[in-house]
Amino acid sequence: MSHHIVQADNLHYIYPDGTIGLDEISFKIHHGESVALVGSNGAGKSTLLLHLIGCLTPTKGDIRIGDYPLNKKNLKAVRRSTGMVFQDPDDQLFMPTVFDDVAFGLINFGVPESEIENQVMKALEIVGVPHLSKRSPHKLSGGEKRAVAIATVIATMPDILIMDEPSSNLDPASRRRLINLLKTFTHTKIIATHDLDMALEICERTIVLNKGGIIADGNTKELFHNEKLLLESGLEKPLTMQGLR
């Protein structure tokens, strides 16, 4: 089945101020795959993710999501099948209460009013915070915010889950909860992160970015054994693997 394929062909992107954002990026991600996108700060991870949801349009090259090439016409359909969790949950939780926030996407995607409450609560239960539904986002802790941000995305049942540094700013316990949660998802996952330990646990495949280009793409464990590669891209061997040595 060709469903839920994410494919990039020779992507180029130059920011208006001349910064090179992406440089000749090509890859193909299959249905159900979990892919970690790693690289130092400014490597172009966020830039790439924004292309995948059609927030940035490549200067050159194309993207295909599922059966569609990504363009203006298909944008809505593509956004319906992809869900993006942003780096700062404060950017994602803009409504007065958690409930409204989770319901926002559902309403926009035309879910009938009678079903909304049901689906909102279901999404909140999946991430384990149904008790927060009446709270305002500004009164949540960092981990709770992150959980709700994920709920806002999975409520619309996307086929592809895209996350930008989901484990940043989390305490160890919240991080652990997040990892366990992500392990249970069967979606196609694309996770940009510095947290190689998390990448190791969740993703079987890793793409390493450096200065806007792909410098490695392959099995996570194998890549992380390559110390030269990690050093080159400003990363460090995951702690769990350091212990193994």
């Binding site: 949801i53 927030c55 809505k76 404060d90 994602q92 409204d100 996407g105 995607f109 619309t156």
Partner: protein, 299 residues
């Protein structure tokens, strides 16, 4: 900076108050908004020398505060902190409007034997009241000054009670039902949501500065102030862009809808009708005056 955090604390605290679960809190926000507006409208509709007739209106804040279980000391403190502007403008009245319009016969007070405890003549001197043989003469200015202060406490407490029994987003929803244009409602909601985020960001920036400059003062030099505000503004603009992206990813197309159940039932109707009746009665009949007359007849 202290100011920054105090304000944030205030808003946070009132937000928490609004989450309590008394029956006042559970009323439909529209009922509370309407009642508050009616209250404020009637309170300010009195002539400027009115004092006694305003007093029964204190029943509203007192009852609402007890019903809704609000911390009265906190509300009073907040009111006092807000007092300066009204006080500043009002305090001119006694100096300008010196026409005597009220006379109180002291013989009546001496009947009550208060004179034994309080030296009235001194009091009168301090207050700047003219004294002519046993009669206190109160100028219009003093009357209107006290009237202003009473109005002030009534209207301010009404606003504070509204927000701490209803919560900001419910007030917004009520306004939406009253057909306030949606861009304005959305604007209010976003402002409120990001106020916390930005105040937090601002206070982190200020704190970082004061750590670097070893300067505990909340004020800073202009040459430091501008880049700080500029940075904050740039970050804010970036944030707006990111929020817009996040909204688009969830299918935003210019409309924000909310599903909230609001029910305007019997309870709400009774609430509005009850208070309206009370306010109108207080407006039409000067209860304290009639009470006083009744009493003096008995006496």
């Amino acid at each position: 900076m202290g100011n920054l955090q105090n304000n944030l604390f205030d808003i946070f605290y009132m937000d928490t108050l609004a989450c309590s679960k008394t029956w006042i809190h559970s009323l439909d926000p529209r009922a509370k908004v309407l009642t508050t507006l009616l209250f404020v409208g009637i309170v300010v509709s009195f002539g400027k020398y009115e004092i006694s007739i305003l007093i029964p209106f204190m029943l509203y804040p007192v009852i609402m505060i007890t019903w809704a279980n609000l911390p009265i000391i906190y509300l009073i403190k907040k009111m006092v902190l807000l007092m300066p502007f009204a006080f500043f403008i009002g305090i001119f009245n006694p100096f300008i409007d010196r026409d005597i319009i009220l006379k109180i016969d002291l013989t009546f007070i001496s009947l009550l034997d208060i004179a034994r405890f309080v030296d009235l003549t001194k009091f009168i001197e301090i207050m700047g009241l003219q004294n002519s043989t046993g009669v206190i003469e109160i100028s219009g200015g003093w009357l209107s000054f006290f009237s202003i202060m009473i109005r002030f406490s009534l209207t301010v407490s009404a606003a504070l009670i509204l927000i701490s029994t209803t919560g900001f987003d419910s007030v917004c929803l009520a306004l939406q039902k009253f057909r306030v244009p949606s861009p304005f409602i959305v604007q209010l909601m976003f402002l409120y949501r990001y106020m916390f985020v930005l105040i937090d960001e601002a206070s982190r920036m200020v704190r970082a500065r004061s750590l670097r400059t070893f300067d505990a003062d909340s004020k800073m030099r202009f040459s430091l102030f501008v880049p700080m505000i500029g940075q904050l503004l740039l970050r804010t603009l970036d944030r707006a862009q990111r929020i817009h992206l996040a909204m688009c990813c969830r299918g935003f197309d210019g409309h924000i809808q909310m599903v909230r159940k609001m029910s305007f039932g019997m309870k709400e109707i009774l609430f509005i009708a009850g208070w309206s009746f009370v306010f109108v009665m207080f407006r039409l009949y000067n209860i304290p005056l009639n009470l006083g007359i009744l009493l003096s007849k008995l006496y």
